[in-house]
Amino acid sequence: MPVEPRSTPDMSPKTLLYVSGVSVSFDGFKALNSLSLIIEPGEMRAIIGPNGAGKTTMMDVITGKTRPDEGEVLFDDAIDLTELHETEIANLGIGRKFQKPTVFESLSVFDNLRLALKSDRRIFATLFARLTSEQRDRIHQTLEAIHLSARQEELAGALSHGQKQWLEIGMLLMQNPQLMLLDEPVAGMTDAETEQTVTLLKRIAGERSVIVVEHDMAFVRNLDCRVTVLDEGQTIAEGSMDAVQSDPRVIEVYLGR
């Protein structure tokens, strides 16, 4: 595919994630049907689509959980993700938040973030590990970003559902990924929490790329980013929220059922 010339001729990669012609079938059923998607560095992208459209499957392909039958998935213009294992992909800097939040309920909020911090993972290193002041600062910055500074000493189990989602986003941030995949991050949040999540995600994007899968249309509109609409494993529309909402195919998919 020819890459259009950019106004800024720097050496940074033109695309962070390049998905092209990806198909996945389960027992003959095509969950993804020649799907293509391009994410630029620092971009935030919302992905919407009816249930069973293939949104989660798409994330599975990017994170190496599911191998595509055909198609290309390139990270940083060069790394073929279809050849790598889940942990290798995670170590490349692709973080994923699953639909159901999993935090360590019996550990404090602070310790949850501490475990997620990039550090020596060997057993004896962890036995004698001490936090450096830089690491402590990083944890505090993240605590601030996820609005949990005041509750850092509390057990994660005591947090509300929405706060657990933030903590899990915080744990992803500690690993400093270049690309973050969030599957329905505001499910079960109150309106106030949803609003704060919008601020949080806008702050996170820019330094890194973020892909958000979400059902909540008001939330997606507030994200104020490019939207991709999936249906039956294919992209049926892409553009601003307003443009996408006036697209006849999108209207048909959403109202025709």
Partner: protein, 378 residues
């Protein structure tokens, strides 16, 4: 202060250090004083029997700590910890056996009586070296540690967890009981090892020697507690708790769950072995009964009664249950097992956090009863 020693001090709050030192001082100074220096007709006198009993309880408390380290933190319920305790005990017993020398009934300077009885003519290879105290002590830690390492390696690598692991550990201790019952195993069979005379030249029947063993047990309990605290307050301790909460998530963060479990399980077995080695010279016998499955289950009950995941709860539980056992078996030995069963059910149903949880609840309730000032202030 080096980073390690400063971390050691940071293990406990100032107040907790004060409490621990007070309890330690009572156990280490007061009890021996009341036993040795106070005349036996005084009501303050503590009898040799009670010093000995307390010494045993200290070893049980160490064993409970070892189990709490894996069960209370990493969520690994071993129902076979008696195996590690017993192996530590046998290692010490073998040293004590060889110290008897020609003072035994058959008077063979090389061979323990039971070997003479079996018509053996020379010491089996695995009894070599046990005439040296340091070697026996090393084996008391190494053998339980090695067994735990092998078992843990097989189990954790294939992700055997929960009740399956408990059953396997119970099967292991049962198999060991059957093996040690056999005379040909070379550990004295049914009767085990007994009739010990002295340890490092000190006569085990002397009251002062028994008091010394008691004091060493108290000091070792303190040490084992600190080791466990060091592990549980470290980042590794956090990882263990995280494994208990959401094992796959820990793996996803890039930590090796199997290795973390293997480390703590092996450490726990070594600590249990030390407890066993201290226990045997105080009770004067080690036999396959230590490997009975019921005994291993009892250890879990101590920890459950005290409250798991706090360490001091395990110590409290070991003392409480064994204290009750000493009293009850004195009065009506036949009801002990029923009592134990009932206790276990009561604790799991009504106080899932054990004695420690009960005390905490009571304290919190006192704190949260609104005083007039706080309820009016807004």
């Amino acid at each position: 202060m080096g980073p390690l020693s400063s971390r050691l001090f940071a293990l406990e709050s100032h107040r907790n250090w004060q409490i621990s030192f007070s309890i330690g001082a009572i156990l280490i100074l007061l009890v021996p004083f009341l036993n040795l220096a106070v005349p036996s007709d005084s009501w303050l006198h503590i009898s040799d029997f009670w010093v000995n009993t307390l010494g045993k309880f200290l070893c049980f408390a160490m064993l409970a700590l070892a189990l709490d380290l894996i069960w209370g933190y990493a969520g690994i319920l071993s129902l076979g910890h008696g195996a590690f305790f017993g192996l530590g005990g046998y290692a010490m017993g073998m040293y004590l056996m060889r110290q008897i020398g020609d003072r035994s009934v058959y008077g063979n300077p090389e061979l323990p009586d039971f070997m003479v009885f079996l018509n053996w003519t020379e010491l089996p290879w695995f009894w070599q070296g046990f005439d040296m105290f340091w070697f026996a002590l090393l084996m008391a830690m190494l053998v339980p540690g090695a067994l735990a390492f092998v078992l843990g390696w097989l189990a954790f690598r294939s992700r055997i967890t929960g009740v399956y692991f408990s059953i396997i550990s119970q099967a292991m201790v049962f198999a060991m009981m059957l093996a040690f019952f056999r005379n040909e195993m070379g550990f004295g069979g049914n009767n085990g090892l007994t009739d010990f005379k002295d340890l490092l030249g000190f006569d085990l029947s002397e009251p002062e020697v028994r008091v010394a063993l008691y004091v060493i047990s108290a000091i070792m309990l303190g040490l084992v507690y600190l080791i466990c605290r060091f592990v549980t307050t470290s980042k590794l301790g956090n990882i263990l708790v995280a494994v208990r909460d959401a094992e796959t998530r820990v793996r996803f963060l890039g930590y090796s769950v199997a290795r973390a479990k293997l480390f703590v399980f092996t450490l726990s077995a070594i600590l249990a072995g030390i407890a066993g080695a201290l226990y045997v010279p105080q009770v004067g016998i080690i036999n396959p009964g230590e490997f009975s499955p019921a005994k291993s289950i009892e250890i879990a009950i101590w920890v459950a009664v005290g409250g798991r995941g706090t360490l001091y709860g395990a110590i409290a539980g070991a003392f409480a249950v064994n204290g009750a056992k000493s009293l009850l078996t004195g009065i009506a030995p036949e009801i002990w097992l029923f009592f134990l069963g009932a206790l276990f059910i009561l604790v799991t149903v009504f106080m899932p956090r054990g004695l420690v949880g009960l005390v905490r609840q009571w304290r919190e309730r006192r704190r949260t009863i609104p005083s007039p000032e706080t309820s009016h202030a807004r």
